[in-house]
Subunit: 61 residues, 6 copies
Amino acid sequence: MPYVTVKMLEGRTEEQKKALVEKVTIAVSETTGASPEKVTIFIEEMPKNHYAQNGIRLSDQ
Amino acid sequence: MPYVTVKMLEGRTEEQKKALVEKVTIAVSETTGASPEKVTIFIEEMPKNHYAQNGIRLSDQ
Amino acid sequence: MPYVTVKMLEGRTEEQKKALVEKVTIAVSETTGASPEKVTIFIEEMPKNHYAQNGIRLSDQ
Amino acid sequence: MPYVTVKMLEGRTEEQKKALVEKVTIAVSETTGASPEKVTIFIEEMPKNHYAQNGIRLSDQ
Amino acid sequence: MPYVTVKMLEGRTEEQKKALVEKVTIAVSETTGASPEKVTIFIEEMPKNHYAQNGIRLSDQ
Amino acid sequence: MPYVTVKMLEGRTEEQKKALVEKVTIAVSETTGASPEKVTIFIEEMPKNHYAQNGIRLSDQ
């Protein structure tokens, strides 16, 4: 029942994403008591021109 | 004023998406009392490698 | 696998919310082909002072 | 610490997006008291076939 | 049509929130070309125990 | 830069939430290569009457 969304910049490899969902599922399961089958993970990627801090997009730095 | 987001895997046809927003708008309007013109729907699609349950991405099954 | 979020103002009754999730689940299932057991719905409520159009919050109108 | 998400239709230019994050950061900083370095902005774009009002997608109008 | 979500810690006053939606609406309208009536803003607040950086919740610092 | 949102039912203790953000931060950092200081986590809780599967809210089961 925990639903986890990981939002990050584009560019991670498939191996990194595969490891990410494995490790995050274990971390969530162990700390919340939910069984791993109940943990759902969504990955969302953003390009550098859609992300800004201090009023400046990463693509403009 | 209800804002509805439907998040699902890629791959539905345009006809399916067209019917989806029609039917969901009616369902929301009838049950909440909001007029259909006030119902906004967003569709979000995700690829199989960005969705995981039980620590395994759909693309890795 | 469709995940539906319905965001609306506070104030609907429990009966309305119960009917909402029933009807929306049917609408999503019939149009996407997903079985009803696969449809998840989240309701999110917002107070009038956290919602604005045209730069004016609903609580200030 | 304010995290701002701007969801809009595809099609704005890079110049518009650049100005958008600059101006919104200033507006958020001045009114919340957060320093500009603490303001994070995400832009999310949607295509016309994934956005509907009154049960009709923008792409079907 | 831009939909703006501002997520921030609890504690801003009603006057700050009122000014926030006014100023952000102007900033979004001027830079995207959308008329102010088309700009919708949602405010979402979070408590200190639901926000973490570097693995430490703000409430634990 | 990864931003993680964990959405779950109300009821976890402060100790569970504290451990959750610690463990998830480590899991995200190790698998994405982002330093822990760059990992932000938001916890969102929902009540049982705002969550449904198969058209039935958890509070109605």
